[in-house]
Structures are given as structure tokens and as C-alpha cells.
Amino acid sequence: MIEIRGVSFSYGKTGVFRDFSLSIPEGQVCLVTGINGVGKSTLLRLMAGVLRPDKGKIRYDPKLGADPRRKIGFVSDALSLYESLTIAEAIGFHKSVYGLSSFDDSLIQHTKIGCRQKVRELSIGQRTIFHLNLILSLEPAVLLVDEIIHSIDAYLRKVFLEQIVQLLSKRRLTVVMVNVNFHDIEHLIERVILLKSGEIAVDENIEDLKSKVKKIVARNRPDSLNVLSQIDYSEHSEFFVYPFDNRLRGTIEGDIFDLNLTEIVSAFIGGEYA
């Protein structure tokens, strides 16, 4: 469980969060999304403990121990590591800091990463896989993954996601992901949080969200519904609406379509930019 209570945070004079609260129960898989610069990565960094709130508290499940970072696996978009170390040295360093007796390198075995290679010599994709392998070796109770997994190729992404699924089936792993490629993780996600101007604009269970966001293809704008964004064509327009009420189904002109998670998130984000 991660409990964020009344957190305010700023980068100098640029405020990101003001009196922000959020609770993520143990074992939940969340997707945090929103437009660029809205504070998604900052939120993840706050949860990982690498940023400290100016005000407010972040509490973790007491089961995580005195220093929850021991059980938090965090992969940031910056992929911060000691670049001058070799892979073997970086693994040794990681093991000594976390007090690990062994290191499961099954993820990097799928790559062409060599032990004597320096971290700085790795490509972004290799670095991401290496970083993911480091944090998975901790057997984390909380996994925080920024949008960086876009940089790994389809095969390695599949391998990584299989590992996540394995972990999820073994124990109650809490996962918070930011803007990851939705189509291959849609089946994992239970909750979607959309940030807007440093606040939570949408916080829904994925099934509820899918029932509430619809695409209506019609000539005229459905005035009775809240339109997030629209795409105009010569003959008709596509209206993305939220929240959609099933009771209105008969009264609406045009065809109503269900959306997948990628389309839902695009509709919200498209609305922000409109």
C-alpha cells in the first residue's frame, strides 16, 4: 500500500503538486497517464523516495520495513546508474547495497550484454533491460516503471512483461506504470489515473472506465454528453465522450463504439491539447 497525503512539490518556482493525495492498495496494477509535463514521472519519483515532498507525507505498508526503498523497484526515464562501472561491477555494487546473496540475471541473458561492458556503452534498450533486471532481482513488493520500456524491442518487452506476470501470479506485487505502450499491458492494468494540472482528473477502475468512455460517430455533436475530444471528417465527426451513461443509448443520434485503453487515453490527452 502506498498512501500519499497532502503532498505539495515544486521544482524551484514551478509548482507540480499542491495538496495532492492518492492511495494505491497492495497488489494493484495502476497506470498513471496525462500529457507531457503534468507530473507523472515526478509522482513516480516521489513514490520511489528519490524526490522529497515540500509538504505532506508518503506512507508505505509497514510490511516494507523501516526503509521501504529496499523493496521498491524503480526504473526512471533517466535510467540513472553509475555509467563508469562495468556490468559485473554494477551487479556487485547492487548486490552489496541490497545485501543479496545471489543475482538472477535471466533478463539480461536474453540480450547480448557482456559482463565486461561498461554501463555507458549500452544502448538505451540494453540499459533499460539491465536496469529492469537489477530491480527485479530485489524481488520488489512495489514496482514503479516510467515510460522508458518503449525503448526496448518487442521481443524483450514480451520477456519483461512475462516476468511481471510471473511475479504478479506469485505474490501481491503493487505496480505503478507511466504511459507505457498500452496494447501489450492492457490485460494487466486494473486502475487508470489521469493527471491534469497536478491533480487527479480521472481515477477509475479499467472496466468502469471502458464502460464510461465511448466513441460516437455522428453528424452533430451530442449536446447531452461531455465531449472530451473530436475528430472531424467531411461527412461526419467522431466524438469521444466521458462519462457515457448507458441509459442515454436510445436517445443519441449516431453509432456508439467501445474503445480500447490506448484509444481512451488518446481521447483524454487529445482533449487536453484541444
Binding site: 519519483r45 528519490v50 524526490l51 522529497r52 521498491i72 540513472s80 546508474l81 553509475y82 555509467e83 552489496s96
Partner: protein, 243 residues
């Protein structure tokens, strides 16, 4: 963590030892070409002293260099390590190597360089260490250390003068040592406090956004010390010349 820092400190140590490696070449060069008549023993003496000075500054100034160069502050702060553990793991190997170098110099040179210049070496090490968090380039850090040393040096002279006015045992044999210690403490304690308070609260935000406490403590302290030295400069100089 400690193992990695020992490796890093050793790297700086080896880099600083270049000065010692140059000595035999200087001696041979003098014998063959320049013929100034350089004395090998005094060259070794100077070499060790310079190595101590260079290593003390370099070791302190580069304490966060791996994190800066590799942009690894975020990784460092994500590790389950307290700030105290991090800072001890960084300082102890460097300080240990400084002592080893000092002892090696004592054995080779035949007199204790640390006894002669111990306070100066410590001031240089801790000045560069405490400046390293608030100064974003090693070159500016070294320039800052030189300024700090000048303040420490002149501060020592000012305190000798002030202690002499107090009279008693302070003005006697231990006067210069006590005044050096007071000067070092007056300069380093506030800088050390500023360093620790800043590092304790530090996170992965850009460093420039986290220096308020550091500058809030150090700048007024510098202003007061420099003002005191300036105000008493004439009278302390006149007193020193009269002795």
C-alpha cells in the same frame, strides 16, 4: 557502497601520485641538462608535500564527481542507504588514504609532514569537500579552496594577534597553533554544517534548486569572517611586524 568508494578514492590517489612520479625525471633532467644542482632529498620532500596538497584538494573536490558525471544522484537516492552512511562511505576512504600518504611521507622524508602542515592539509581537504556540494565545477572548487585557504591563513594571523591581546598562555608557545585551530574551526564548522544540512535534505531535483540552505549559511559567514579580517588587518600586520 564502501568498496566502490574505496575504488574511486584509489583512482584519485593514483592520479595525484603523478607528482611523485615526476621527481626522478626532474632530478635526472637537472643533472643532465639544467644543472641548477637540485637536491634529491629536498625534491622528494617538496614532492610529497605537493602530493599531499593536491590529493587533499582533489579527493574532496571530486567526492560527488561520479554522481555528477554519470547523472547517478537519482540512482544513489533510490538505494536503501541513509545519508549518513553515504557520506561516511565517501569520506572515510579518502580521509584514510590522506593519512596513509601522510604516514608514507613521514617515513620517506624522515620528518612528519603532517605535524608540520597537518592543519593546512585538513583545511584544504575539508574546504574542497564542503565546497563540492555548492560549487558545480571542479575548477571553480579548486579556486574556492585557494580563497578559503587564504582566509584561513590570514584568519590565523588575525587570531594570533587577538589572542596576544588576551595575554596569558595563549600568547606563548601554543599561540600560533591555537590561532590556526580557531581559524580553521571558524571557517570549517559553518561550511560543514551547510554541507551536511544541504546533503541531508537533498533529492533528485536539479542541484541548483537545492542550494538555498547552503548559501544562506555560508555567504553571511564568509562576509563576517572577511570583514573581521579586513577590519583588524592593519593592526594585526603592525603587531606581527613589530615581533
Amino acid at each position: 557502497m564502501l568498496r566502490k568508494e574505496i575504488r574511486d578514492a584509489l583512482k584519485r590517489f593514483v592520479e595525484s601520485m603523478v607528482v611523485l612520479a615526476v621527481i626522478p625525471f626532474m632530478y635526472i633532467g637537472d643533472k643532465l641538462v639544467i644543472k641548477v644542482g637540485l637536491d634529491y632529498a629536498s625534491l622528494i620532500d617538496t614532492g610529497f608535500f605537493l602530493t599531499l596538497v593536491i590529493f587533499s584538494i582533489y579527493a574532496g573536490a571530486t567526492i560527488f564527481q561520479p554522481e555528477r558525471k554519470d547523472r547517478a544522484f537519482e540512482y544513489l537516492f533510490s538505494l536503501p542507504l541513509t545519508r549518513r552512511k553515504i557520506i561516511l562511505a565517501k569520506i572515510l576512504p579518502r580521509f584514510g588514504l590522506l593519512l596513509i600518504l601522510g604516514l608514507a611521507a613521514t617515513i620517506v622524508v624522515g620528518r612528519s609532514l603532517l605535524a608540520d602542515a597537518g592543519i593546512t592539509i585538513l583545511v584544504l581537504f575539508f574546504s574542497s569537500l564542503f565546497l563540492s556540494i555548492g560549487v558545480f565545477s571542479t575548477a571553480i572548487n579548486i579556486f574556492g579552496v585557494i580563497l578559503m585557504y587564504l582566509i584561513f591563513f590570514q584568519g590565523g594571523r588575525t587570531f594570533v594577534y587577538l589572542l596576544s591581546r588576551l595575554g596569558g598562555s595563549f600568547a606563548g608557545h601554543f599561540g600560533p597553533l591555537v590561532s590556526q585551530l580557531v581559524s580553521a574551526a571558524v571557517l570549517l564548522v559553518p561550511f560543514g554544517m551547510a554541507f551536511w544540512l544541504t546533503f541531508k535534505k537533498m533529492d533528485a531535483r536539479p542541484l541548483k534548486l537545492q542550494m538555498r540552505t547552503y548559501y544562506f549559511i555560508t555567504l553571511p559567514v564568509l562576509f563576517v569572517i572577511v570583514s573581521l579580517i579586513t577590519l583588524s588587518f592593519r593592526s594585526s600586520q603592525a603587531w606581527l611586524l613589530s615581533r
